[in-house]
């Protein structure tokens, strides 16, 4: 068992005594009536002024280092998010479609080809640690090299992000950079912001045209249609089916002349008893049998059509 520390008094002064402990420390301590050669069990050691300063310094140092640690942590997390977490993505369309994932700082985190050409374009491309400007420039170069992009071509840039402001800023920066870069290379490439009208869009348009062409046969009879449409609005419980047909310019032209003959015949051009002005040849596609179930309601249509005439007058 280790003995308790005791102190051998070596020198005594008025205010203090020099004592020696068992570990070889020479200590100045309060002289509580000691004499040289005494052995004492407890002392009141002197505190040196430089040690006092050191203690306050230590407290300040500890507080400062703690504050620094907190700052570093907060800043570090922010910086990590700023540098390494996904914030938005750039959709770059040359013909190859490429999606570039960006951090908030504009650092490229990932690149993915969105179509076959895009995948081919970025297959061997090393993007790690590069910023967005370098990557879009190099991808444009790569596209030129692989002959996806030629003079007078077009690149479309679209940025998606949590913040619209940031997305707009990125779009402008990328577009400016690409413009500069391609101009330096002497290429006249149009850089557009937003999605490009691709093949699907044109297909849609064609479909629309087709549907319009289906309605083309209507114009000759469109005046009737208009009347019936007007009538159906006036009188909803007349037993006549409300039937709206898209108007066409030709129907507007004939609308003024049609009412004079139509009321005597029938309320609608869609049913016909053989005398329909819509189909004089009897080949109308709207009616297959000669009798119409709507013929009994002809008077109401006459009324409505005469109303129409009055209005017109």
């Amino acid at each position: 068992m280790e003995k308790e520390t005791n102190y051998l008094v070596l020198e005594v002064h008025n205010a203090y005594a020099v004592v020696l402990d068992n570990s070889g420390r020479f200590i100045k301590a309060a002289n509580c009536g000691y004499e040289v050669g005494d052995t004492v069990d407890s002392i009141i050691p002197m505190i040196y002024p430089q040690d006092k300063k050191k203690r306050t310094n230590n407290i300040i140092r500890l507080a400062a280092s703690l504050a620094a640690c907190i700052c570093l942590c907060v800043f570090g997390i922010y910086e990590y998010q700023f540098m390494y977490t996904e914030y938005g993505s750039v959709h770059m369309q040359i013909n190859p479609e490429v999606e570039i994932t960006l951090s908030r700082s504009g650092r490229v985190l990932d690149i993915e080809g969105e179509n076959a050409d895009g995948k081919e374009l970025v297959k061997d491309y090393e993007y790690k640690g590069k910023d967005k400007e370098t990557v879009v420039d190099e991808l444009a170069d790569l596209a030129i090299e692989q002959q996806y992009l030629a003079d007078a071509g077009r690149i479309s840039i679209e940025v998606d992000a949590r913040s619209d402001e940031w997305a707009k800023k990125m779009e402008t920066e990328i577009t400016d950079e690409l413009n500069d870069h391609l101009q330096r290379q002497g290429m006249a490439i149009e850089i557009t912001i937003g999605p490009v009208e691709d093949g699907n869009d044109t297909e849609d348009k064609e479909i629309l045209k087709e549907s319009q062409s289906v309605t083309i046969p209507i114009p000759g009879t469109a005046d009737k249609t208009d009347d019936s449409a007007a009538e159906s609005d006036d009188d909803s419980d007349d037993g006549v089916t409300d039937y709206s047909v898209p108007s066409s310019p030709s129907s507007a032209q004939s609308s003024s002349s049609a009412p004079s003959s139509a009321p005597a015949q029938s309320d609608s051009g869609y049913d016909s008893s053989g005398n329909s002005p819509y189909d004089s040849s009897g080949n109308s596609s709207y009616d297959s049998n000669g009798s119409s179930s709507y013929s009994d309601s002809s008077y109401s249509s006459t009324e409505s059509s005469s109303d129409d005439n009055d209005d017109d007058d």
Binding site: L10, H13, N22, S23, K28, N31, G33, G37, I44, Y48
Partner: protein, 245 residues
């Protein structure tokens, strides 16, 4: 104003000179007693009131810590004394149940102190012989140190207060003990064989230079003689000598 300036000069002289410090303290004993009386509410008795010892120590600490820009010395010392006494009372609170040996007790109509009634387990004569022998040895040691121009106060001021530095000094001591020739060289040349000790103990020369006085004192204690002091340093010498003693 002039007296204040003189006092500041004396304080500055006392910072490095222990004699000057002692004489300054003697001169201001009245102030020190008055300061103690503030806390114990009676005149202090020397050698009996621990508060007086603490106020004396605080006064000495104030001498060492005083700077001209800290105002008048006596009010600076007074503040130091106050905080030291507060510290002391805080520590004493922990031992509130301990009674004083100087507590008066009634013994057969005679009033005496508790300490006189306690049975002393040690043989008084033997103890006094031992103390006397220790005192002689310490005086011898002090003389030897003075040959090197070192006093015990110097050694205490030069003693490493950080455990790591103390360990480094202990390494130097063990290196010297393993090579008694180096201790002889120290006695002969009155100089610390710095290069050899540094090489053997793998201690930085700068550290050794900074604690030169302390190292000289410790190495001297391990030269011939000084058995009592060596016996006292059983933590330093390890269990080997501890078991011998």
């Amino acid at each position: 104003m002039n007296a204040g300036h003189e006092l500041v000069e004396q304080v500055y002289a006392a910072k490095t000179d222990t004699e000057a410090a002692d004489s300054l303290i003697r001169r201001y004993m009245g102030f020190i007693r008055a300061e103690t009386a503030k806390y114990i509410h009676r005149a202090p008795v020397e050698g009996q009131d621990e508060e007086l010892s603490i106020v004396l120590l605080a006064f000495y600490e104030a001498i060492l810590g005083y700077e001209k820009n800290r105002g008048a010395f006596l009010s600076y010392a007074s503040r130091g004394i106050r905080s030291r006494i507060i510290d002391y009372y805080r520590k004493e609170k922990k031992h509130a149940k301990v009674t004083s040996l100087h507590e008066p007790v009634q013994d057969d109509d005679n009033e005496t102190w508790k300490i006189n009634q306690l049975e002393n387990p040690e043989n008084e004569i033997e103890k006094s012989h031992h103390t006397s022998a220790t005192r002689d040895e310490i005086q011898e040691y002090e003389k030897k140190l003075q040959e090197f121009g070192i006093s015990f106060s110097d050694v205490a001021d030069n003693c490493p207060r950080q455990e790591r530095t103390l360990q480094a000094c202990r390494r130097v001591l063990s290196a010297a003990r393993e090579n008694p020739g180096l201790l002889d060289e120290l006695l002969r040349t009155k100089k610390l064989p710095m290069a050899a000790l540094s090489e053997i103990s793998k201690t930085d020369k700068k550290t050794m230079e900074r604690h030169r006085k302390y190292l000289v004192a410790v190495l001297l204690a391990f030269t011939n003689g000084y058995e009592i002091i060596r016996g006292h340093l059983y933590h330093l010498t390890g269990n080997r000598e501890n078991s011998d003693t």
